[in-house]
């Protein structure tokens, strides 16, 4: 009996894996196609988890993503890839089985950073929010009406959760080391607007401090947080919204450039071997992939956004199927959206590293505005609060490398005032950061 050909294996069955697999089929690939997923579910959509699923408007299993092409795929769900052997072109799964591959698309994504065990991480009542099961478990705990909720981290997930929980009428405190929420992603100038929303919602916002440790009661359930400023907060439900680390542990020993910050790719989405040469048969896309973004000085960046998962996976699939020498560079303008406190927030570009910011439409006081970020006289990013229809015009300007501020002497706004964007200095900044991750 001739063994079945190994075909293409997509490791990671979330948004990037699904859209990558679809792109392979649309691109004419007719051979065996296998999708490996750590969770026992078909690909589902994450953005509703921290909003409508927490709010109880959608069941966690309602978020399953539509499959937009006939995949004719073999699904290997419920067991993660645990190791990769490039010499034999095989990968091993958690259940002990071995899969052969001719080509690999890595879309393993990222994992929520857990609260460290040595400072109370093992206590009951401490949640993270990334997967479908996380959202379902947290929702169940919210239905039991916790006395006092503490959210650690004022990034997108922390703020969306705070907004939801206030809508549910639950008492919420949000602790963040920076002066404003979303400060790392959007800067304090824009994040200050969300600080106002947080306070107006009735949440307690504790900026400029950190949780040092959690303490439990006799039953091992979280009871209070000890803060860096010496104070304590009573709490019986904690959401640790500390960002994510890239799911690359299974690539240890595979001889690839991979660490907790991602797997490094060249501009064509090919994964780099340890010696820096691109592997012709291994591609990566989505949250897990960091690649040199031309628009931002070829810095190595992993973009953990919904739109990048789709576009990069499709691009990687295209390059994987293309003949030798026809691998094209991936060009992408990062973008995300969030809804919280009744406001629709959308971003294009990467604001990090901006030296100035200017409100070009509306005002922060009205919580309806569009702000552009500049660096060295060039527009590099734009954010809208309930002004989404103007954003595409600024996206074009950013892609074209337009000057900052992008519009001068407009009749309705002759003078554009620029301000400091208010990005916090990195707490543990390495001397020469080799790679970055976009996570807000």
């Amino acid at each position: 009996m001739t063994p079945e050909p190994a075909g293409i294996v997509v490791v990671g069955a979330s948004l990037a894996g699904l859209r990558g697999a679809e792109a392979l089929r649309r691109g004419g690939y007719d051979g065996p196609l296998t999708l490996v997923g750590a969770e026992p579910y078909r690909p589902y959509d994450r953005p509703p988890l921290s909003k409508h699923v927490l709010a109880g408007e959608l069941a966690a299993d309602a978020t399953r993503l539509p499959e937009l092409t006939d995949l004719r795929a073999r699904w290997r769900l419920g067991s993660p890839a645990v190791s990769l052997d490039r010499a034999s072109r095989t990968l091993r799964l958690g259940d002990g089985s071995v899969l052969a591959y001719e080509a690999l698309l890595i879309t393993t994504g990222a994992e929520a950073r857990p609260w460290p065990a040595e400072t109370g991480g093992g206590l009951a009542g401490i949640f993270t929010l990334r997967g479908r099961d996380d959202a379902a478990a947290l929702r169940e705990a919210l239905v039991a009406r916790p006395r006092q909720v503490l959210i650690v981290g004022g990034g997108l997930i922390g703020c969306e959760a705070a907004s939801c929980l206030r809508d549910l009428g639950l008492p919420v405190t949000l602790v963040d080391p920076n002066p404003a929420p979303l400060a790392r992603g959007l800067g304090g100038f824009v994040g200050g607007v969300i600080a106002g929303c947080l306070r107006d919602s009735g949440a307690m916002f504790r900026p400029g401090t950190m949780v040092r440790a959690f303490e439990g009661d006799a039953a091992g359930h979280v009871a209070r947080a000890r803060l860096a400023d010496g104070s304590t907060i009573e709490t019986n439900l904690v959401i640790a919204a500390l960002g994510a680390t890239r799911a690359t542990g299974w690539l240890r020993g595979a001889g690839l450039r991979a660490d907790a910050g991602g797997v490094t790719c060249d501009a064509a989405c090919r994964v780099l071997a340890a010696d820096g040469t691109p592997c012709p048969d291994i591609y990566a896309a989505g949250d897990v992939a960091r690649w040199p973004i031309a628009l931002y000085g070829h810095r190595l960046i992993a973009v953990e956004h919904w739109g990048n998962a789709i576009e990069q996976a499709a691009h990687a699939a295209r390059n994987l199927l293309a003949g030798p020498g026809d691998q094209r560079p991936y060009t992408h303008l990062p973008a995300f959206w969030s809804s919280q406190f009744g406001v629709n927030i959308k971003l294009v570009g990467l604001p990090e590293g901006a030296d100035s910011v200017a409100v070009v439409q509306g005002s922060r006081a009205s919580r309806r505005f569009l702000a552009v970020y500049g660096r060295a006289g060039r527009s590099i990013a734009a954010v809208s609060f309930d002004q989404a229809r103007w954003l595409p015009a600024y996206a074009e300007a950013i892609t074209a490398g337009a000057p900052f501020p992008p519009i001068n002497d407009a009749t309705d706004r002759p003078r554009i005032e620029t301000s400091a964007p208010g990005f916090p200095s990195l707490r543990t900044a390495p001397a020469h950061p080799a790679a970055e991750t976009v996570h807000v």
Binding site: L58, I310, A388
Partner: protein, 79 residues
């Protein structure tokens, strides 16, 4: 909240990077799409299969083509 799996359910996703809040989907399929506040789109990603006609009209009505709908049946979590 309702059960959301099985053959009686459609699969819908909206690209909210693309969505500009024109709300045409809300007119075409008011049971599945709603605008909240100025421009936040809330939608049901798993509407019942009998609403396929309305969902397809919403998909066609979207000026920025942000809505995707699974063509075939939902086959559960089959391997």
């Amino acid at each position: 909240m309702k059960p959301a799996s099985g053959a009686g359910v459609l699969r819908v996703v909206v690209d909210l990077n693309r969505c500009q809040g024109y709300a045409q989907c809300c007119y075409a399929a008011p049971d599945a799409f709603a605008i909240r506040g100025h421009e936040i789109l809330f939608y049901d990603p798993a509407p019942p299969a009998e609403r396929r006609g309305a969902i397809e009209r919403a998909l066609q009505a979207c000026p920025v083509r942000a809505i995707s709908l699974q063509a075939g049946p939902d086959d559960g979590d089959a391997p």
